[in-house]
């Protein structure tokens, strides 16, 4: 039996909390966020934990306290490297990594990521995704040039002369993107998926 902290009838009447929003926006079943016992195993296991504004444990406490803006402005989830070490160690089986993805999506949609110390990170994801949408495959050269020229123009030149050239010389980078054949099909699927996402959010509501 799954124990939840929210009796369903009361939930139907009460205004939705930030915590409920996060839970509902996390796919793959109940992420068990309300089961967190604040033990700190997650932060202690996290490879990039020391560089985070708040450890995952603290973020979860802040979510519960309804500190929406502070949570979404943090760099915590952008520094999450998605290695799932916290998740396999969590004694309460909270789906921590999946919750980090939910916070990323929320921070982008609601614009809070701009105040985070990792404010470039969403643009890296977006640039990557743009290429995938356009060609069906990822395109490293296009991604690296576009992303770095925008965010670190001086480093971009160094990168192009160093890493980029070395990659090309070793035959490890394409100069032109590779495309899948049935791009129309991919675009139709992606458009429909976006439509479903938007409809879902309109229904769930909550911020964006």
């Amino acid at each position: 039996m799954t124990i939840t902290a929210f009796p369903t009838e009361a939930v139907a009447r009460a205004p939705r909390t930030f915590m409920q929003e996060v839970i509902e926006d996390t796919p793959g079943g109940n992420p068990r966020l309300e089961m967190c016992i604040q033990c700190g195993t997650c932060g202690g296991s996290c490879p990039s934990g020391p560089d985070m504004d708040y450890s995952p444990r603290r973020i979860f406490a802040m979510i519960e306290a309804g500190m929406r803006e502070e949570v979404l402005r943090a760099n915590t989830f952008w520094y999450c490297v998605s290695c799932y070490l916290c998740m396999v160690r969590c004694p309460q089986e909270v789906r921590i990594t999946d919750i980090m993805y939910t916070l990323k999506r929320k921070a982008i949609r609601e614009g809070y990521y701009r105040d985070s110390s990792a404010s470039d990170a969403p643009d890296f994801s977006e640039t990557f995704v743009d290429a995938v949408m356009k060609y069906g495959r990822s395109f490293e050269l296009g991604l690296a040039t576009r992303y770095h020229l925008r965010h670190h123009p001086l480093d971009a030149i160094k990168l192009a002369a160093g890493m980029g050239l070395n990659m090309l010389r070793r035959g490890r980078m394409d100069l032109t993107p590779r495309r899948i054949n049935n791009l129309d099909q991919l675009h139709a699927i992606m458009d429909k998926a976006k439509e479903i996402s938007q409809a879902e959010r309109a229904q769930i509501g909550g911020g964006a």
Partner: protein
Amino acid sequence: MKYTYYPGCSLEKNASAYHDSTMAVAAPLGMTFQEVEDWNCCGAVEMMAIDKMQAYALISRNLALAAAQTPPGQRMVAPCSACFLNLSKCDAHLTKDPSLAAKVNQALAAGGLHYTPGRVQTRHLLEAVVKDVGYAAVKAQVKRPLYGLKVAPYYGCLIVRPGFLEKFDDHEYPTSLDVLMRALGADVVDFPMKAHCCGGHMTQISEEVALGLIYRLLKNAADYGADVIATICPMCQLNLDAYQENVNKYFGTNFRIPILYFTQLMGLAFGMEPTRLGFGKEFIDAAPALNKIGVEPPERSKPERPSKDALPMPVMPEKE
């Protein structure tokens, strides 16, 4: 054994050494691969940060295409840990969450596709080699054992985690790659950081943080005397190989540890030509390390007995 094959974007170019060596060792291992026709990117770790439904739909297009060309009972293999995780995790979530599956199928229908959750089982290449082929069959193919080559087996994170996917090896301290490398005749060193993260895309978000993550892996392998690090993921290979010089500059170290795919080492042990296995594309030249491979198995030194003056510790009785 026949497999449906999902190479993923990295193996097309950046990790072509992984693809080439996989294809080279397939025949001696008795594996045949049929590539998913017109597969698309799995979205890596980026798509899920942008749009949930699009992320699932993007992965599910691959699953639907794979299902159409995969007879029941045949598995799909992905050599990239990130692709493997996305494909298997998406399938697990669709199976667990029928309303998510319904929405994904609504999106797929716009492209004339449909996917039944659970239809295509995905395995990582290492799991397929270890479980389906088996250590004994690998050992039987060894013609030029990797005697004397000290290998640090590096698993990274996504092949053994998260836990709910019933991974085939331990989450914290996996051993399958250790046993496989030993079957090739290699001298496997202890590598406590073997399942820690290489940083993934962190090199692009904050190079400072990323270099710290890469440094601790290289240092750990060097501390345990590794000649090479064997990897099973294109992202791990790229981070540890291409950023090794940056790590040296940043931390004032002098690491020169080649990062090789486990399939490259298998091919070498099977007696194949290095050029066929994609050698020469690595940033840190593998040649000096590979010259260490001897013709005779190295003599193993007996574990040292503690001196009589040392604190009393439990010791195993010697057999002889």
